[in-house]
């Protein structure tokens, strides 16, 4: 490569709006050949939109795309692929019942006499895999649905390479991987760069970006803040660029107020969708004026525990009590009316009806609760007033009750959901990942509100994958591992490394092992503002359900 060769991709002044929302605002971006370029930003900062523009999924409103110096305009991903650009989406685009081989060649099958020439395809894929040290060719005849997520991701990468991609875009590639798989992926990216590919790596995790990328472009609110060399920057600087200001995550001062038990679970056992026991004989008590934090790697039974507490899932054994009343056999609707509010894990699917406006969404969950409903009849004016109240009190933008939920940004959606769920003065609140995918401003706002509610006497169960969130809010933290609470710790007296060990299933008294196993990603997350505790161990795009 000569020094003046054109960059692999150059974006100039890309602007993309959705209705009134400006997703990208005059973004410039330059991907050098044979480099790994990270696109860093909070959720909703416009990273994925920018890449979807490059990949032909969206038409930009303004700006130009150059690939290898040539101005290009892509009408579809097929056009982008033809120009050597491949994209690995966060949610894999694989046909699950089909084999790896069929998935890789899909749409580009080598043909021999009108039939798919599987032998030629196999040879070609094996050659590719040999070159990069992929293990994908071990599974060529295996249906994709039988593979773990890390392998599926490699199948996606092989698929792009098979189609001749020189430039690969990876959208949040680590979100679904285990820590070991993350290490493997980062090695693989190096490998691909060494073989002459150019890579764009979308992430909001600072450590990964610093470890993997050559250069880093930070996006905030749809604008490119700056592009820096990974070697010349620090986590602190990147965090400041991402957020736009210094953010304090110190634990707010508070005093313990002893209160009555509100929500209790006793020897609770819950089976998951496949009938396997996911929660095993858990005891739990949350009192008034208390926030109980539940830490754990995702997929250790938190979802099932939440569902058993909210009334969405019938436990196999054990009892759930609300203020002493047994509510084990009471369904969601009556528990909700009885005062168990819940912030859903997945606000897009569960918390909001995307096509409803905010008024109709304000009724969601309240459709049998006075004053919004009386004897089965709805009072829309009360609902509308409620919607306006939430918008006002939780600073939802745009402040327009007739806006559809789907048109709001993630942070505003979440503020609306939180506002609605605590709106009817519940006794207990189950808050699952209340700040997931939320910008930092909204995050602080939600945290403050949760602490206020605690002051007012609400009993809160907080499930989060962010250790700093648990540390800032919880009065006690229990660590969930394989369906049980492995330990209970004091949020102020326990380090992130110790929590990390517990989350990995090791008790703290196993001190000797701690030294040898305490390595890896867990330490890296300490004291970092946006650090996710560990990589979510999801088994599917939407978690365990």
């Amino acid at each position: 490569m000569t020094a003046d060769a054109p960059p692999a991709v150059r974006l100039e002044g890309i602007t993309k709006t959705f209705g009134d929302v400006v997703a990208n605002d005059g973004v410039d971006f330059r991907l050098e050949r044979e480099s790994i370029h990270a696109l860093l930003g909070e959720n909703g900062s416009g990273k994925t939109t920018l890449m979807n523009v490059l990949y032909g999924l969206y038409d930009q409103d303004a700006g130009t795309i150059r690939v290898d110096g040539e101005p290009r305009s892509f009408d579809s991903p097929q056009d982008a692929m033809a120009a050597g650009i491949g994209m690995i989406h966060q949610h894999f685009q694989l046909v699950e019942p089909m084999t790896v081989l069929q998935n890789v060649v899909l749409g580009h099958e080598p043909v021999d006499g009108g039939l798919v020439d599987e032998d030629a395809a196999r040879e070609e894929i094996e050659a590719l895999c040999d070159r990069y040290g992929f293990d994908v060719d071990d599974h060529l005849e295996t249906p994709v649905e039988e593979l773990d997520l890390g392998t599926r991701q490699r199948v996606e990468i092989v698929k792009s390479l098979y189609r001749g991609a020189d430039t690969l875009i990876l959208d949040e590639p680590t979100a679904v991987l285990t820590p070991q798989e993350v290490d493997g992926l980062l090695d693989l990216l190096e490998e691909l760069r060494a073989s002459g590919r150019s890579l764009i790596f979308i992430s909001h995790k600072l450590e990964e970006v610093l470890a993997a990328a050559d250069r880093i472009t930070v996006l905030r609110d749809g604008r490119a803040v700056d592009t820096v060399a990974a070697a010349d920057t620090s986590r602190q600087e990147l965090a400041r660029m991402m957020v736009g200001r210094e953010v304090s995550f110190d634990r707010p001062a508070r005093e313990a107020i002893p209160g009555e038990p509100v929500l209790e679970a006793e020897e609770l056992s819950v089976a998951g969708d496949r009938g396997l026991e996911r929660v095993s004989e858990i005891d739990l008590t949350v009192r008034e004026h208390e926030i109980l934090g539940i830490a754990g790697v995702q997929g250790n039974g938190q979802t099932e525990l939440i569902e058993a507490l909210t009334g969405h899932r019938v436990p196999d054994a054990g009892r759930v009590r609300l203020r002493g009343d047994d509510v084990t056999d009471v369904g969601r609707r009556r528990r909700l009316e009885a005062g168990i509010a819940a912030i859903p894990e997945d606000r897009n699917a569960e918390g909001l009806v995307q096509e409803y406006d905010l008024v109709k969404n304000a009724l969601l969950g309240n459709q049998t609760v006075p004053p919004y409903a009386n004897d089965g009849w709805l009072d829309w004016s009360a609902v509308e007033a409620h919607a306006e109240e939430i918008i006002e009190e939780f600073d939802v933008h745009p402040p327009d009750p007739s806006a559809t939920a789907g048109s709001l940004s993630g942070g505003n959606q979440q503020k609306f959901v939180v506002g609605r769920e605590i709106g009817h003065d519940p006794d207990a609140l189950i808050a699952a990942h209340p700040t997931r995918g939320v910008d930092v401003g909204s995050l602080e706002f939600i945290h403050d509100r949760l602490l206020e509610l605690r002051e007012e006497g609400l009993a809160i169960v907080l499930i989060s994958s962010k250790l700093d969130e648990l540390r800032a809010l919880a009065d006690r933290i229990v660590v969930m591992y394989e369906g049980t609470f492995i330990d209970e710790v004091d949020p102020t007296g326990t380090s992130d490394a110790e929590l990390g060990l517990l989350m990995a299933g090791q008790r703290l008294d196993e001190g000797a092992e701690r030294e040898t196993n305490g390595r890896s990603n867990l330490e890296g997350t300490q004291s970092e503002s946006d650090a996710e505790a560990t990589v979510d161990r999801r088994t599917g795009g939407d978690g365990e359900r």
Binding site: Y58, D75, D346, E350, V353, Y356, K360, Q367
Partner: protein, 376 residues
């Protein structure tokens, strides 16, 4: 070569996006436009088949609104389409695909006739008895239709059986069993056609305004009343909100405390109750007895198109039914008064149905398949 599929997909996406974003007015425009276009194509086909298209067009108008007789016939069909369309709309709105309205209306109709015939010996003759029997018949039809629809509802909710398949199968079962009964045990000895006994004197809906023996303004009033009840129920009650929300986004409805299984069963039951009413109105107002169900017009199937044209909105079902009623009415007129063959008329009605329902169907499909891009 390789980017051709991309172009097609891109074009499809744009069309789908346009349809998804269409406002209410645009959708009304699309419906009116596609109706006009379909009729135009129909005229071309008629001309190509060697008939006079202008004469044919004139016959269509005359046959639907050209005389009092034609007009009441149009209203008669409209009444049936409104009820059947609302039955479909209830289910579709809640995201449940009840394709079994035809079967449910047959079961409702026969239940209506049988209950009246069985009870007739025990009630006094005259107006009072007639009114009583009529009400009993309507009630029996509602109950029977509701139960017949609850069955696939239960199968879907608790056993995961696809309701499209079960309701279609139940259509065949209803046609078969009722067909056998009407031709066998229920057929009077002196009946020259396949039918039940005549309903007793006094049972029926009085004509009031028009003198057509097969149409009563009360029947139309009943249908409009059902529209009103369903429309209010859907928008102003907790249950309606549960139902419609389940149709939009089942996961969010469940999280908000809706019991998905019970909602599915309730939706199917309600839909079937209205479908049963179609059968009762058909038996009481139109026929005066019950006939071989394979000879009953395909109101239950046409209602799917009616509902789609109305975007599954119960109020929208009324104008959509008027259009379908007029087409059905003029079809039967043209069949008698012109030499255009019957098959051609059916074909033209088919084109209209296709054109009119396709945009809405496409909309629903686009929503389901994610064509037209993800929102938000």
């Amino acid at each position: 070569m390789s980017d051709d599929p991309g172009r097609v997909r891109g074009a499809l996406d744009r069309v789908a996006a346009r349809l998804l974003d269409a406002s209410v007015y645009e959708r009304v425009g699309i419906a009116v436009g596609s109706t006009g276009l379909a009729l135009l194509i129909g005229l071309v086909v008629v001309a190509a088949a060697g008939h006079n298209p202008l004469l044919f067009a004139q016959q269509l108008v005359v046959g639907s609104v050209g005389s009092t007789g034609a007009f009441t016939r149009t209203l008669r069909f409209t009444t049936l389409f409104i009820l059947a369309g609302v039955a479909v709309a209830i289910a579709f709105r809640a995201g449940v695909f009840n394709i079994g309205v035809q079967g449910q209306l047959i079961v409702g109709g026969i239940a209506c006739v049988l209950s009246i015939l069985w009870l007739a010996p025990f009630v006094p003759n005259g107006t009072l008895g007639g009114v009583g029997l009529t009400l009993v018949g309507l009630l029996a039809a509602v109950v029977a239709g509701g139960l017949y629809a609850a069955l696939p509802g239960v199968l879907k909710a608790y056993y995961g059986a696809n309701e499209i398949i079960t309701t279609i199968m139940l259509n065949f079962i209803a046609i078969g069993i009722v067909g056998w009964a009407v031709d066998g045990p229920l057929r009077p000895e002196d009946a020259r056609s396949v039918r039940t006994e005549y309903l007793p004197e006094g049972v029926g809906l009085p004509s009031v305004v028009f003198s057509d023996p097969n149409f009563s303004i009360l029947g139309l009033g009943l249908a409009l009343g059902v529209v009103g009840v369903v429309a209010v129920g859907m928008t102003r009650t907790s249950f309606g909100y549960d139902m419609v929300t389940s149709g939009y986004q089942a996961s969010a409805a469940t999280f908000s405390g809706v019991d998905p299984q019970r909602t599915i069963v309730a939706t199917m039951t309600l839909s079937g109750m209205v479908a049963g009413l179609v059968g009762a109105v058909f038996a009481i107002m139109v026929q005066g007895y019950f006939i071989d169900p394979s000879g009953i017009g395909t109101y239950g199937f046409d209602a799917i198109a009616v509902s789609l044209l109305a975007a599954n909105n119960p109020v929208g079902v009324v104008p959509a039914s008027l259009l379908f009623g007029a087409l059905e009415s003029s079809g039967s007129h043209v069949q008698i008064h012109s030499d255009v063959p019957v098959q051609l008329i059916d074909g033209i009605v088919g084109i209209v149905v296709l054109f009119v329902a396709a945009p809405e169907l496409f909309r629903m499909l686009a929503k389901r398949t994610g064509l037209g891009g993800e929102k938000g």
